[in-house]
Symmetry: D2
C-alpha cells in the first residue's frame, strides 16, 4: 500500500481479496502496510487490485505459468521427435540432438545433397524452410507445399525426422501432414492463435524465443501450447536483441540455466541465426552445450554464396563435421549424449499418417 | 573489402555485381578498398555479396522500403477513416484525431456508456477490443463477433467510425465486415501473413510498432500492407521495451520526428499502453502532440476498477475531457487541428455494406 | 519462500529477521509461504536473507533512496542557479529555464558570439564544455581552465549563470571556482566518488541520466549528492540507448512523469544529445516541455559545420529563437513559466567569490 | 548524399575532403551518389562532413581503434600478471587463468582463509575488493588501504598475484603500490580520466565491459589505456543489461568470438556478477571457456550468508573445486591450458617494489 494509506483503503482491499475467494494477510509496519493474498491465482484479478485506491504495487509471488513450470514436473521432460519411417530422436534430460539443413529449401536436389552431408557429419534431425518469414515483402518467401513434399521424402529416405517452420494458423493443417516437428519463429512467439493451433496437434513444437522476450514470456507462450494438450514443447534460444552491433543477435547463454531452473522443458540453441555469419557459429554452439543445452540447430550449405537466403551464416560441411566432434566431447564433460537414437519402427508399420507423433517420456 | 584482400577477390566481387545487372565503382585506397554497386536494389543479392571471400561488410545506402518512404511521396498522406453512417475522420498532415473507448468490449451497455462519454469529451473515433491478445492463456480473451456487432451498432448510432484489433488471418474477413479501421497489435507487427491479408482489404490499418522494432522495421511492415494495394496505413507509437522498470513501456518520442522524416505516413501515439497506469497518460499524450503526432489513442472507463482488462491504465471521463482541452491548445501551437471532420453522408445513401472504406487523399 | 520449504528453513529466516532488529510477519498459504520483514531497512541485509536456504526471492517494498524521494519532500524543489554578477535563475515547480551555448568552448570569440545570440533568443543560462568526455582517445578533449575563464567572464558580462561539465574528482575544486552549476555527464552518472565530491560543494548539479540507467538508478545517484549536503540537484533526461538506429538516443519522455511521481527534484530535457542531428531537436524539445519538464538544454552554433565537436546537432540561431517562442506557448498550456528570473544583485555586492552559490527554495 | 542533392553540394563535399588531405572518390548512380574519402582517418572530421548540406549519412569503414585492433597485431596478445614474490600467470593465446577470491575484503582472517581454499581448488590469481562501487550511498564501501595491505601480504605468502578494483584517479598511485593487476569496473568503463591514469602505469588492467557498451565501445576504452603505453589490457565480459528479469545480467557469450575477431587482446568471463546467484555460475563459466575465453573470475566464500557484499553469488569452495575440474576438461577440448604458470623468481631478487609489473609477451 502507499505510505499515506487510509484505514478505509486497507479495508476495501481486504474485502476485495476475500470477495475473490482468497485469504488476506495484513502486515502493518511503521512505514509500510503489506497485504498478502493467498489462494487460487486464477480467481485473483491483479489489475483490479492494482487499480484500487491506496494500492502502490501488486507483486505476484506465484509463477503465471503452471504446466511449463519445474514445480509441475520436477524431472526433465524428454521429447521424442519422429518415428514411422524415421528414427525417433530424444531431446531432453541427458539426450541432445543436432538439427541441421539448409535455411530455405530451394529445390529437391540441393536439399538431398545437404541432407546427406549433414547426416554423415552426425546430424540427427533435418531442418529446412518451406514458408519463410521475411522482414521485406520483396524477399524470397519460400516454395510452400512443394518444399514440404521434398522434405518429407528426403527425411523418410534417410530415416531422419524433419522440422519446418509454421507462420500462419491456416498452414497448420497442411504442415502437420508432412512434418515431424513444427518450428515457431521468434517473431511469432506471441502469435497466440498460432500457438493454440499447434497446441491442438500432437507433433512436437520447437518454440523459438522472441527477440525481446524474457524467459517468463517464453514459458507463458509454451504454456499456450501445453494447455491445449500438446506436451511436446522444445525451447530454442536463438539470440536476443542487444545494443551489440558487431553481430546480428546476442545469444543469451544465461537463459539455458535460467530456463532449466524454472521449467522442465528441453532447450536447444540456434547459433546460426544469432551469429548471422558463420565465423561465430562454432564458438556459440560449443558454449550452448557446455551451458547445458539439449542440442543445437545449425544451417549448413555446400555452396553458401549461392544460397537464396542467409548464405553468410551457413557453415561448410567440413567445418560442421569438425564442430560436431567437439560438441560430442563437451557433451561428455557435462553429461549430454548425442547418440541415443532409436531405430525406425518397421517401415510396414509406418506411413505418413501419424505414427511419428510427439510422445513425451 | 577486408584489409588484406587479393586482386582476385576484388575481381570476383566486380564480376558478381555486373552479373546482377548493376554497375560497380571501385575506390582503392591505401588502407581500404570500397566497391560501390549502383542499380536496381531488387536485383542485388546482398547476402550473396556478403558471403564472397574478401568482403568485410555490405552497407545498403538505399532504404529497403519504397511505398512507405518520404522519397516516394514528399507530401504527408492523409487517411480518411469511416463514412457511411459515420463521419469521415481525417488523420495526417494538419489533421489530428482522438481515438478512445474501453480496452475490451465487455458488454453492450458499458460500451455505449463509455462511447457517449468519450464522444462528449471530444473523441472522434471509437475503439474497443473484440479479440484480445493476452500473454497468459488463462486470461480473458474477448467476446468476438458479439463485441463487433455492439461496436458497429454503437458507432453508427453516434456517427463515430470504429477501430478494433485483428490478430489472426482467419479473422480478417469477419472483422472487415464490421470495422472502419483495423488495428494490428505490437506483437503482430511482423506477422507477415496477417499484414498481407489486411493489405488486401480497403479499410485503413492502425499499425502499432513492435516492442523492440526499429522505425525501419516498422516501415517495412507498413510496406507489406502498402504493397498489397491498401494505402490507408496509420503508424501508432505505443512504447518500446527499455530497461526502465517504473513504467510498462517507454514511449519513444523521438520516433515521431524520425518517422516523419523517413515516411509520409500519419503517426499517432498510444499513451495508455505505454504508461500502464493512468497517472502517466496525460503527460505522454501532451508530449506526443507537441512532438508532431497526428493524434492519440486513449483508453477510458467510467469505473476502471471493474474493467476486465487493463483497468489501471483507463482514464476517468472527467480527466480525459480536461486532457483533450489541453491537447487542442498544444495542437494550436504546433499546427494540428483536432476538429476537421466531415459530416456523415445522408443516412439513406449509407448502410453498413462498405461505403466507409479507406480513402487516401 | 520456495514451494518445498521446510519448517526449519522458515524458522531460520524468522530468527535472522529478528536478529536484525526487524519484525517478521508470516503468511503461510496453501502454495506459498511469504515472510514480511518490517523495520529499518538499513538494518536489513537483503543479500544475506536471499542466500538463506529455502528463500526464493527477496522483494524490497521500500524505495532505496530517501532524500530524493517525493515522500521526503511532497512539494517540488526549486533550485536557484547563479547570483552575484549574474541573474538568479529558478528551476523547478512552475519555473522552467532554457540552458544553451556551444558544445565545446573553442575560443573566447566564438563563445561570446554564441552567448549573445542565445541570450537574445531567450536562453537564461550559458553552457559550454571545458573538459570533454570523448569515446575515442584521439578526439579533441577541450581547452580546460582557459575555457572556464572565458565562460566565467562571458557569463558575468551578460549576467547569465554558467554551467559546465566536471569529469574527474581532481577537477572539482578548479571548476567550482568558476562555474555556477556543475554538469555530470551520462557516462559518469555512477562515478560515485565524483558524485560525492560535487556533493561536498554548494553549487547546483545538473545530473544527466546514464544511457542504460533506470529512473531509480538515477535517483540513487542523486541521493549520493544530496546525502553530502548539497540539495541543488537538477535531473537531466538526455536519451537512453534503445534499438532504434535512425537516431542517436531515444529520449525517454515517460521519465518526466515517472521522475516527478517518485521525486521532488526538478527535471529538464536535453534534445541535442539525444537527437544527434538538429532536424529532430525541436520536436523533442517541445515534447519535453509538454510532458512537464522544467526546461531544456540545447546546443547552438552560428556555423555548425565548423564546430570542433557535435556540429550536426547544433541548432542555428534563427530556428532556436523560433523554437523558444513555441516552448513558451506550450509552457503556458501546461503551467510552466520561462520568465521568472531575478535581477542580479548590485554588482558592488557581487564579485566572483561565491555569492552565486546554490540555494534551494 | 541525399536523393535530391545538387551539383554544388557535391562539389562542396569533394572540396572539403580534399582540404582535409584525403582523396575523394565519386560514384554517381541513377538513384544515389556516394562519395568515398580515402586517407588518414585522424584528418577526417566526420561531424563536419555530416553537417554539410546534401549529406545523408557518413559511414566509417575503418575501425576507430588502432592499437586494440587485430589488424595492428594479428597474433593473440599474452599478458603476464605478477612476478616478484608471486608466480607469473599468463593470460591470452592458449593460456587461461582462474581468478578467485571474496567480493569485498572484510578482514584479514577471512581473506586468508578464502585465499587458501581457492588456491587449493586451482585458482591462480587472488581477487578482492578494497574500494567498492555501490549504487546506494548507504551500502558498505570497503576497507581501503587496510584491505590492500592484507591482499598484498596474503598474495605474497601464497605466491599468488593479486587483483583489485580502482574507482577514482586519486586512488591509482596508492593501489599501484600494492596490486599486481588493476580492475576497472563496468560502471567506469568510460571514465576516461581513470583509463588514462592506469594507462600511465605498467601494471596489467582487467577492463570490464560496460553494462550497455558494444564491443567497439569497449575496445575504444582499451585504446585509451593502450595509447598511454600500457599494453597489459585484459578484457572481461561480465554480462550486459537485457530485458531478462530472472537473472541480474545476461552474459553476452557472442562477445567472446566477436572480440577475438576484432582484437588481439585476451578476454575472460565473470559469471558471478552476471548470475547474481550461485546456482547459475557453473553453467555460464563452462560456456565461457567453451566459447574460447582465456579464463574466469569467480567469487567464493566459505560462509556466503555472512558475506558483507554479494553473498548470494559466491560459490561454496567444494562446488568451486568441482567446477574447475570441468573447466580444465573443456579447456582440453578447445585448446586452452589452465596450468601454464611460471614459478616466482627467487625471493631474494624480488621485493614489493615493482618487479611484478605487466609484460606482454
Amino acid at each position: 500500500m502507499q505510505s499515506n494509506v487510509s484505514p478505509e483503503h486497507i479495508e476495501r482491499v481486504i474485502a476485495e481479496i476475500t470477495r475473490m475467494g482468497c485469504t488476506p494477510h495484513l502486515s502493518a509496519g511503521r512505514f509500510k502496510t503489506i497485504i498478502g493474498a493467498v489462494g487460487e491465482e486464477a480467481n485473483l484479478d491483479q489489475s483490479h487490485l492494482a487499480s484500487l485506491d491506496g494500492v502502490e504495487n501488486v507483486v505476484p509471488v506465484m509463477k503465471p505459468y503452471k504446466l511449463a513450470s519445474r514445480d509441475f514436473s520436477p524431472d526433465d521432460s524428454i521429447v521424442s521427435v519422429g518415428g514411422g519411417l524415421t528414427r525417433k530422436i530424444l531431446i531432453g534430460g541427458a539426450h541432445a540432438a543436432v538439427i541441421s539443413g539448409p535455411c530455405a529449401v530451394e529445390n529437391e536436389e540441393m536439399l538431398r545433397r545437404i541432407a546427406v552431408l549433414v547426416k554423415d557429419a552426425g546430424a540427427t534431425i533435418l531442418r529446412g524452410g518451406a514458408f519463410k518469414p521475411r522482414t521485406s515483402p520483396y524477399s524470397f518467401q519460400g516454395h510452400g507445399e512443394d518444399a514440404l513434399r521434398w522434405m518429407r521424402s528426403c527425411g523418410d529416405d534417410l530415416a531422419m525426422p524433419i522440422c519446418t517452420e509454421v507462420m500462419d494458423t491456416r498452414q497448420v493443417e497442411l504442415i502437420e501432414r508432412y512434418t515431424d516437428m513444427f518450428q515457431i519463429g521468434a517473431r511469432n512467439m506471441q502469435n497466440f492463435d498460432l500457438l493454440r493451433e499447434v497446441g491442438k496437434t500432437r507433433k512436437p513444437v520447437l518454440l523459438k524465443r522472441g527477440l525481446a522476450a524474457t524467459v517468463k514470456d517464453w514459458l507463458l507462450s509454451a504454456e499456450y501450447i501445453l494447455s491445449m494438450g500438446n506436451r511436446g514443447v522444445i525451447l530454442c534460444e536463438r539470440g536476443i536483441k542487444t545494443f551489440e552491433d558487431s553481430i546480428r543477435y546476442s545469444l543469451d547463454i544465461t537463459s539455458i540455466s535460467v530456463a532449466q531452473h524454472l521449467s522442465h522443458l528441453p532447450i536447444i540453441v540456434d547459433p546460426s541465426h544469432c551469429a548471422g555469419v558463420r565465423q561465430h557459429v562454432p564458438s556459440v554452439a560449443l558454449a550452448g552445450i557446455a551451458a547445458g543445452a539439449h542440442g543445437v540447430i545449425i544451417e549448413v550449405h555446400y555452396r553458401p554464396s549461392e544460397a537464396q537466403c542467409d548464405g553468410p551464416q551457413a557453415m561448410l560441411p567440413e567445418s560442421f563435421a569438425e564442430l560436431i566432434l567437439k560438441l560430442r566431447q563437451i557433451g561428455d564433460v557435462v553429461g549430454k549424449s548425442f547418440g541415443d537414437t532409436q531405430q525406425p519402427a518397421s517401415t510396414a508399420a509406418g506411413g505418413k499418417s501419424g505414427l511419428w507423433g510427439a510422445t513425451v517420456e
